[in-house]
């Protein structure tokens, strides 16, 4: 799979840019696809330097500071935003609902 999408110097194909754009819910002209292919390829090329680092015995960072851990709280009902406030920025609404274009 990897060889289809990129090679070892980080370069990616235009099809990969289109595929990732689709995952990201973005659409691009052919010209943009070519531009992003070049720019992202250069960035990924630079990033391949990470392969120099031996991380065989290293744990990935899961919390920024060692003192941090999962935080729990009591499951209590508190006041939350009123429907009016929550809808105050809605591009489109109907009653207490956000309105969107048809789904199917």
């Amino acid at each position: 799979m990897k060889s289809e999408r990129s090679n070892d110097n980080g370069a990616i194909t235009e099809d990969v840019v289109r595929y990732v754009a689709k995952l990201s819910r973005l659409s691009f002209s052919d010209e943009d696809v070519a531009k992003y292919k070049k720019q992202i390829g250069e960035i990924l090329g630079y990033i391949t330097q990470l392969n120099e680092v031996d991380t065989a015995d290293t744990q990935p960072t899961s919390h920024v500071l060692p003192s941090m851990k999962n935080v729990f709280r009591e499951d209590l009902v508190k006041t939350s935003l009123s429907p009016d406030k929550a809808l105050s920025n809605a591009p489109d609404k109907q009653g207490d609902f956000f309105r969107v274009p048809r789904v199917i």
Binding site: S24, S27, T61, N89, F98
Partner: protein, 473 residues
């Protein structure tokens, strides 16, 4: 009004005392003055006089509030209830948050007058303030140059004295690098020191709000006000907030300061290097013990960052879909088309680049090679600092390899732009506090910044050394 431009919070405080006017009246004067001063700099996206004055008048804080009447600039990614907050992006066009960020509550309860909408790179994606959908802010020291970024607006309005201080956010250097380029003080606190509740997220494991001020004293005072545990931010840390202003001491006799050789590399401008070397001599002459140290994984920090930050950003930006708030495209027949068209029309180029990069590195089959690898190298970067802080109190480096560059110079070369954060990114990776303090000027008359970094929650060490340095030069 000249003292207002140069002396930060103290200058505004004294002016207010002497003026003997109502808060509405003097706030109106400050607003008019800022509007006039900002005409060419464009540090603000807009200045809404009516709103600023009426908020000041309605604030119930008494006149003995620590920041009573003091104008504080707010970056456009920190939520103020009912006030436009857009991250300088079209996709958040018209967005008025239904709640206040915790830092906004804290400033307001201390009497500060909020000057909203300081310009920034779109979603804080940038090092020059040029990716704002409202156009670039200019460096007050040279209007043909960038102010740095992403908190370029916050920094420019402090450097030009329009406001006494400002809040910015720092994900990879976004407070310190522009502070350096505009000749002011910029602090990135320890991760978890300041609540991020109400800061519109860029990269959640790296973001931190911090003060931008004209001097180290104001930085300590501002941090004392905005720091602290917040139950609304599960990554804020429940450690008591010290009286930071008590750390402002001129004495650094016996302090051990490390000089990491990896920060003195090819690519640093000659003038920057010379200023920093002279500063290190000054610190030595003040009694500090200067030691050579090594942070061997420094050169991988930018690579790590440009995997982790876009990956987190692409997740955080998935929420902008035109449904709940912000921009919605009218060019769509169904829901998925609406998502795609809203995002395509709403995001700028740099945001799209980072969304693509982040989505790619998180996509199936690539997660291990990119994101997981980067998080492992991140551990190595943190471990480097742990080792170094076992032998020294803080380390000193340049904040940025160059002084402010020309507007437009790096816009077509993202990699070159990314490398301008080479010295600031590691502190975000390791979650440690770091401060940039003015350190003279180069031959073109542009400010140079010096950076001090310390171990987690050692902001007092930073204020001590930064204050001593500021007073000593």
């Amino acid at each position: 009004m000249d003292t207002l431009t140069s002396s930060g919070i103290k200058g505004f405080r004294e002016w207010i005392k002497k003026a003997n006017k109502s808060i509405g009246d003097f706030t109106g004067i400050f607003v008019d003055r800022a509007k006039d001063m900002d005409r060419e700099i464009k540090g603000f996206i807009e200045i809404d006089k009516k709103s600023i004055v009426s908020r000041a008048e309605q604030n119930k804080c008494q006149t003995d509030g620590r920041l009573w009447g003091i104008p504080i600039g707010i970056k456009d990614n920190i939520c103020i209830e009912g006030e436009l907050t857009t991250c300088a992006s079209r996709i958040l066009q018209g967005f008025r948050p239904p709640y206040n960020a915790t830092v906004i509550e804290k400033l307001t309860s201390n009497g500060a007058v909020l000057f909203a909408r300081a310009n920034m790179d779109e979603f804080a994606f940038g090092s020059s303030c040029e990716t704002s959908c409202y156009g670039p802010t200019k460096n007050p020291h040279d209007l043909s140059r960038i102010p740095g970024g992403s908190s370029g607006g916050s920094v420019a309005i402090v450097a030009s004295g329009q406001v006494a201080a400002a809040l910015g956010s720092d994900t990879g250097g976004s407070i310190r690098q522009p502070a350096s380029m505009c000749g002011v003080v910029g602090l990135k606190p320890t991760y978890g020191r300041v609540s991020r509740y109400g800061l519109i997220a860029f990269a959640s494991s790296l973001d931190q709000i911090g003060p931008i001020t004209r001097n180290v004293t104001d930085s300590a005072e501002m941090l004392e006000i905005i720091a602290g545990y917040d139950e609304k931010d599960s990554t804020s840390v429940n450690i008591e907030v010290p009286k930071y202003v008590n750390a402002l001491k001129k004495d650094i006799n016996g302090m051990t300061i490390g000089v990491p050789k990896e920060y003195f590399i090819d690519g640093i401008e000659k003038d920057v290097l010379e200023n920093i070397q002279a500063a290190i001599k000054t610190l030595k002459s003040m009694g500090a013990k200067i030691v050579d140290v090594s942070l061997p994984h420094t050169k991988y920090a930018v690579s790590c960052y440009y995997i982790i930050a876009p990956a987190e950003a692409s997740s955080n930006l998935a929420r902008y879909d035109g449904v709940h708030y912000g921009y919605r495209s009218k060019n769509a027949a169904d829901l998925v088309e609406m998502y795609t068209a809203s995002r395509t029309e709403g995001f700028g180029q740099e945001s799209k680049r980072r969304i693509l990069l982040g989505t790619y590195s998180l996509s199936s089959g690539y997660y291990d090679a990119y994101y997981l690898k980067a998080q492992k190298v991140r551990t190595k970067i943190s471990d480097d600092f742990k080792k170094v802080f076992s032998v020294c109190d803080c380390v000193v480096t340049p904040t940025s390899p160059t002084t402010a560059f020309k507007i437009g110079e790096r816009m077509d070369d993202p990699l070159q732009m990314y490398l301008s954060d080479i010295f600031t990114i590691s502190a975000n990776m390791a979650g440690i506090p770091a401060i940039s303090v003015p350190c003279g000027k180069d031959k073109k008359g542009l400010p140079v910044g010096i950076q001090f970094m310390a171990k987690p929650f050692a902001e007092e060490t930073l204020f001590n050394v930064a204050y001593a340095f500021e007073q000593g030069v």
